[in-house]
Amino acid sequence: MHNNSRVKIIIDGILIILAMIWTLLPLWWTFQTSISPEVDLTRIPPRWLPSSINFNYYNSILFKKMGTTTAFRAGIFNSSVISITVAFLSVFLGSLAAYAIVRLNVLSGRWVIFTLLFAQMIPPVILITSLYVIASKLHLLDTRFLLILIYSALQLPMAIWILRGYFQTIPREIEDSALIDGCSPSQVLFHIVLPLSGPALFTTGIFTFISAWGEFLMALVFTSSLASKTMPVAIAEFMGRFTVDYGLMCTAGMIASVPPILIAFIFQRFIIQGLTSGAVKG
């Protein structure tokens, strides 16, 4: 019996290690490419560890003036501006809307649930045809404003969904007694409900930031110059049809991964909470 359970623990341990290898291998391979000297990358068979560690690629990406690296830096800047704006906007507007739905009895009912789910599940590719025609008529193509608007619209249903779920768990009595004490409903929202909802606001912010940071299709269609091109589009340009500089490409990928990786590591709990509260981004 004792031996038996020991074997079990060892088998579990091996399986867990295998699962971690499967999960992390692509990331590790990309990372080790980014710190390898160029000669290592064209060796057959490949080297599993770099012959020497160097940061030439990082240096090129961050400082060198080249078409693709300049575009990458502009992309990081545009992506930061866009994702941070979208995160704040979705959290703020989403909590107003969620509060209205949960407590002020506006648009309550089953069809709201259905609409919010439906809006989250619409494949964005459905929207690109008509959005493109509309945006070009309004002269909004290739602007950060357009992407902020589109991402906010795509994120708001999820933001409202997560916040709605959280607001429902706040005991009504707290709000009711504040109302009796003479607070207006808007004071209740800003001074009682929102301060109590820190974790949910945070979860929503993280989710919308990560989605906007990584979004590719809309950015590909709607941006064309350095004025609005985001990081994913700039990275896609590293992968030319015929020649690909894998070293630079992997380094760009590593730099672009820093914010989401830090978030996953530090705010793991919030991401899991958001996912299990019914955010449906498979």
Partner: protein
Amino acid sequence: MSRKTLGYLLLLPSAIIILVVLVYPILYSGYLSFFGTFIGPGTLTLTPVGLKNYIDTIKSPQWWWAFGRTAYFVLYDIVVGMSLGLGIALLLNKEFRLRGIARALVLFPYVLPSIVKALMWKWIYNSDYGFLNGLLFQLGLIKDYIPWLSNPTLAIHMVILANIWEGTPFAIIMYLAALQTIPKELYEASEVDGATPWQMFTKITFPLIKPMTFILIVIKTVATFKVFDLVYALTAGGPGGSTQVVGYLMYSTVFDSLQFGKGAAMSYILLLIILVLVFIYSKLFQSEEE
């Protein structure tokens, strides 16, 4: 100000953004879908064509082919991806040191930008210097390097493998959440009764995570229609159309062939399918909540 007025006021900004960017374009797509479109320099000329775009789409072998490809993706995602997700969730549900770190690490494929995931796999599959060929060669499993993405049969399976890797964390987290709701006493009681681990899995675990499995199947199916980034970066729909999924076909219909009307008609057909799936999903979700 009455509660109702305040409610509408709070809802207004979100409603405007959603109406302008989601609802209006969907309606406008409906309108566009009845027109043939001609793109000139800076102009868009519309000619009414009735139902032609819809009929063309439904009759086009390309559309059904892309549908078949997408269904093939879904099948793998559900059978292989979800089993893998469940397996890893069962492991991570056990008590062990560093469990917190392990749970953070499995999130990585979920949070990384999709284009970065695509570039990782593009480099792994590189036929001359990539990881996969190097590894298989050194293990003695292959004699010659294999061009993973230029053979039609191989290419689709390689893209599917990358897609499974990308989608597993979501299944892991969802299954972990479902597993944590199962009372420990059930297992303890069945152990006293002499149940084997396999019996515990089939008689306790599996029935109790069944609702989550249904939910995941619907979400995964819808999510597959969103597959675009991987295909764009790895194969661009090729070779020989083998990775031409619905999302990619729609994109190239509009932006490569410039058939805006046909793209809009395709959007509507897809929207209808998603609507049915979401209807099923919301039924499942409501029975979960009750």
